[in-house]
Symmetry: C2
Subunit: 310 residues, 2 copies
């Protein structure tokens, strides 16, 4: 039996990085260094610039607290929306650095632009840094930013009841800490949390310099988020990049083992093909099959807006 | 700073199942029963029929061996191709049943159609069944079908050096067994293996009826594929469906733990959001973000044809 073709073209993801770019990323040492960051962004930035990595409107440096780093940017489109899902992005930087916006670069306006292209409101936030501010300051700041969103995002077309919080690296640690209840604040309206290349088992024996700066001597039982995540009422997505350093793979595997033991299933885990610690979040919008597609599906599913994406 | 929109629409996956269909699948008991199969295919078939789930040309029941079940179908497009990647699909059915083609249904022409839409040659195969044929007959049959492909697929526009083997459920077990070397045969030309909802740790204590029929009293040390998979030269993709039964989640987690211990990383694992044991492979072509997108990326990457997909 031979069926007639029906003229339907399979929907595919049109934004993918060329194979040689992925090959260059995969050839890099996985170690997280300034040199790695420089090399990754030198590769990715032209693609972001070509696609456009700034949303039509960005309201910058709105304050959600008293500290100079209690600031966030709201990314919206040129069409007014109502009750759109809201994606809050928490940057990485080893607890001691990083920013929501590095002028003249795609970091991290690209996440806001990605959210807006999907029809959502994007929010990028900055938080207090170690060693001046230690655990659980990061979680408290995420909680405060979420509180700001609940109170203010309707004015930007967002739905305060459809918030998804995504964090990368140290940002994932702060998001995990927030949804595990370490930072106080309310989970009202928080419908999902995406933990991108995060650390959940904070055994002091494995703390490197930046983690020590943030956690000091906080015991693992207080700092680790895994038990809280297992009981967390918010749906979670974990990710690890193919070329993340071994520690991050071990953390992802620990999450899988704990989840299986607690829930009898594997958690929603995205293995970000072809990318490393720096490039995984940088792939949003320019290499959608890697992280963007599963992350978007998670956001749609957890906010009950499947199929609404652009 | 507010950037101008650049008029680029994010590439998105256009074929997705409606939220209510996913909700119905997620509400089903995960247990693999005839009733589950009937309910799943009743839900999915209309979407396959609407999209078209038969390739323009299907050459059926070509023989790759002496047994009546040594048969395969070759799925190709209406445009001649040369040196296209070849996807061999091995169906499930609990070792004792199943077929490459159930007339009047999308099973499993849909996989061939999906491959052809991506620009590949699709091959669907049937193999000998337990209890008449026991371990490692399934792996031997996969090896024989791969041998047939190496010798014959160029005549269908396929590249005998770009073969990816994908199996589902018992089919994943046979594919794992083949690439782990249990069935003999050559891995020449095999560039990747996708193990969809498979079983890799064949501890006799956990064998249920169908596994007993195929493995008999074969000891775990001989039957289990995990050690062989860890050393396998072929890139692997593992998947588990969100609503797979607990045993399959445990198998995926075991693969993660073993891979971490051996390689220091998490393996390429796809968590098939919103689907169960039956619907995950059934999602190919009609719910691409679930399994199709990461599987297609794996096939492209492992055959070195990134960006060539339709």
């Amino acid at each position: 039996m031979t069926g007639a073709p029906r003229g339907v073209i399979l929907g595919t993801v049109t934004h993918a990085l060329p194979a040689d770019v992925i090959a260059q990323i995969k050839a890099m040492d996985p170690a997280i260094t300034p040199g790695q960051a420089q090399a990754v962004w030198a590769l990715l930035t032209p693609f972001h610039e070509k696609l456009g990595c700034t949303a039509p409107r960005i309201d910058r440096d709105l304050t959600y607290g008293d500290h100079p780093r209690h600031r966030l940017d709201v990314h919206t489109g040129d069409q007014p929306r109502a009750a759109a899902p809201v994606v809050l992005f928490v940057h990485g930087g080893g607890f001691t650095g990083g920013d929501k916006h590095v002028p003249g670069t795609p970091r991290y306006d690209l996440v806001g632009a990605w959210a807006v292209r999907h029809g959502w409101v994007g929010v990028t936030m900055t938080y207090r840094l170690a060693p001046g501010y230690r655990w659980p300051a990061g979680a408290q700041d995420v909680a405060a930013a979420v509180g700001w969103i609940r109170e203010n995002v309707a004015g930007y077309g967002g739905d305060p009841g459809k918030i998804v919080v995504a964090g990368n690296s140290a940002g994932a640690v702060h998001v995990a800490s927030f949804v595990a209840g370490q930072g106080g604040g309310s989970l009202d309206g928080v419908r999902g949390a995406a933990l991108l290349s995060g650390v959940y088992d904070l055994d002091p024996a494995r703390r490197a310099g930046p983690e020590h700066a943030y956690y000091g001597d906080t015991p693992a039982a207080a700092a680790s988020t895994l038990p809280g995540l297992l009981d967390c009422p918010v749906p979670l997505l974990f990710s690890v990049a193919e070329r993340d350093p071994a520690d991050f793979h071990a953390q992802a595997a620990a999450a899988v083992a704990a989840w299986l033991a607690s829930h009898g299933t594997v958690p929603d885990l995205v293995w970000v093909e072809g990318h490393n610690h720096m490039s995984a979040v940088g792939s949003l919008g320019i290499d959608e099959a890697a992280l963007g597609t599963p992350l978007a599906r998670f956001i749609e599913r957890s906010t009950g807006t499947e199929g609404s994406s652009a």
